[in-house]
């Protein structure tokens, strides 16, 4: 049994089968990438797995438990965490506070204690803050800690989202285009970060259009097209698959080496 099992997931939007009968699984320490053309259904798949959309068919099994359609916050408690393709930043909070909110599950406590400012409440906050600072350093945002998050550039916000997702100390991490808006060098840094996280035993599910990155770090790749899984396998196999090349890669494979 794997950590995360996707079994025959599907959903339709007003007649459009955005995702259809997709199955695969992710193990701890593995990086599984989902690639495919724009509109293939990758983000939709993520949304179903993370409880944002209610799947029309199929099952999501996390750690042996059927969590299909479970609320995101309950999934978070079970160790699932994600980032978003369309940034979801807490704009008017500082960068640090954004990161701290990733620790919500660890730091939360009775409201009354928080209202009365009991020492227990302050202790919880303090621990979370320390963790958050360390995480910000890890994504290279330590200098921006006190800035209002809304003022950051796009690429910086992407990294902030990753930091926040990591704060949950997840067992399964879903990353939707984490390197979008970053240049080759910045992308490589994110690469390393993801690889490191995976190494610590986290199961990672990745959507990314940067093929260099995908090929470099994936242990397994699932290819979607029009909501269907059209191929899967290790990077080498997938990148040679003619169907994948036709639908998705084009001639990019050669270019990337230039």
């Amino acid at each position: 049994m794997s950590l995360l099992d996707i079994k025959g997931l599907g959903i339709t939007f007003g007649g459009l089968r955005a995702v259809n009968e997709v199955s695969f699984s992710v193990n701890p320490g593995e990086i599984v990438s989902v690639i495919g053309p724009n509109g293939a259904g990758k983000t939709t798949l993520f949304n179903m797995i993370s409880g944002v959309y209610l799947p029309g068919a199929g099952q999501v099994v996390l750690n042996g438990e059927d969590v299909t359609g479970m609320r995101p916050d309950l999934l978070a408690r079970r160790g699932m965490s994600r980032t978003f393709q369309n940034l979801q930043i807490f704009q008017s909070m500082t960068v640090l506070e954004n990161a701290i909110s990733g620790y919500h599950l660890q730091e939360r406590g009775p409201v009354l204690a928080d209202l009365l400012g009991l020492p227990s409440s302050r202790r919880r906050s303090k621990a979370a803050e320390e963790g958050a600072r360390a995480l910000l350093a890890r994504v290279g945002l330590e200098r921006a800690a006190e800035r209002e998050a809304g003022n950051l550039s796009y690429g910086a916000l992407k990294r902030l989202e990753i930091a926040r997702a990591l704060a949950l100390n997840p067992k399964v991490l879903l990353l939707d285009e984490p390197a979008a808006g970053c240049n080759a060098v910045e992308t490589e840094e994110i690469d390393h970060l993801i690889a490191e996280v995976a190494k610590s035993g986290v199961a990672i599910l990745l959507v990314e259009h940067d093929m260099k990155m995908v090929m470099r770090i994936s242990s397994h790749i699932v290819v979607l097209d029009h909501g269907e899984k059209i191929a899967e396998g290790d990077p080498a196999t997938v990148s040679r698959d003619p169907a994948v090349i036709a639908a998705y890669l084009g001639t990019e494979a050669e270019n990337a080496d230039g």
Binding site: T43, N47, V52, F84, Q85, N86, Q88
Partner: protein
């Protein structure tokens, strides 16, 4: 039977009044996401200005025209002097501005006009029309026709014209609207002029029924707001349906249940509808994705 019909007439009359106010909300909301709480004051201005212009010797149609144009000018001024300078402010700030504006306009009206209650003659007499034992005043027909007319015009404007689309685009994403060459300031000016004009028209039509005074705006704004939300803010269809529904609810409750709690019943139904349809009857769902 005639009883039911009478309640129906009452409900439709009052509902048409609410619908007219709600329709006024639609345009400014569609251009800026702001619910303009001064909308009721436009209705008041329409009625009061007509009363005073009429008293000053203008024939009624001309007085009404003067009132509508004048109120539209007030709307434009409101946009120019208060809304436009606050561009980029959060929506709550804009709402407070419109509340401030409504207090200001009310205060000005009690000085410029007076604190008395006024009315002017109904357009086609006061002889009730009898249908199956129930009665309706000719002026009610004017109000209903006005509401339907404004609805059709707005509906066409928003669905059939590029300018209407531009109004929607302005509230949806002001930055992008500018980038495609929409003069968002003009769109706002236009919206305020139209909204205020429609409000004033409402005031002209309803005054012979509801009477008017410097402070009628608040209640109308409140009921119109509730109607617009019931129907789904921003959609002319919603404004019309919401207004009529609210009016009918009030009349039916007053008729069959309890006149004391007729507003309560209306709100209970609004709550129930929103519980099932959080965007109101015809409101569009936001389509933003994550």
């Amino acid at each position: 039977m005639s009883e039911l019909l009478q309640f129906l007439f009452s409900g439709v009359t009052v509902g048409a009044v609410y619908a007219l106010v709600a329709l006024g909300f639609t345009i400014i909301y569609n251009a800026s996401d702001v619910v303009n709480f001064a909308q009721g004051e436009f209705v008041m201005l329409g009625g009061m200005a007509t009363v005073f212009a009429h008293a000053a010797g203008l024939p009624l149609p001309l007085a009404a025209l003067v009132a509508i144009v004048g109120t539209a000018a007030v709307g434009v001024a409101l946009n120019r002097l208060a809304i436009e300078p606050a561009r980029g402010a959060p929506v709550v700030s804009l709402i407070i501005i419109t509340i401030g504006a409504s207090i200001f306009i009310r205060g000005a009206a009690q000085l410029v006009f007076d604190k008395q209650i006024h009315t002017f003659p109904a357009f086609s007499g006061d002889d009730p029309i009898r249908i199956l034992g129930a009665t309706i005043l000719p002026q009610s027909l004017w109000v209903i026709a006005g509401a339907v007319l404004v609805f059709v015009a707005l509906w066409l404007f928003f669905t059939r014209t590029l300018l209407g689309r531009a109004v929607l685009a302005t509230s949806n994403n002001r930055l992008a609207a500018q980038l495609v060459g929409i003069n968002t300031n003009f769109v706002m000016t236009l919206s305020f002029a139209l909204s205020a004009g429609i409000g004033a028209l409402a005031g002209v039509l309803v005054t012979p029924i509801t009477l008017t005074s410097y402070d009628v705006g608040l209640t109308l704004a409140l009921k119109g707001f509730a109607a617009a939300m019931l129907g789904g803010m921003g959609n002319p269809k919603g404004a019309l349906a919401g207004g009529l529904l609210l009016g009918l609810l009030e009349a039916m409750t007053a008729g069959y249940l309890s006149s004391q709690y007729k507003d309560a019943a209306a709100f209970v139904v609004i709550l129930a509808v929103l519980f099932l349809m959080p965007q109101g009857l015809f409101g569009r769902k936001s389509t933003d994705r994550v």
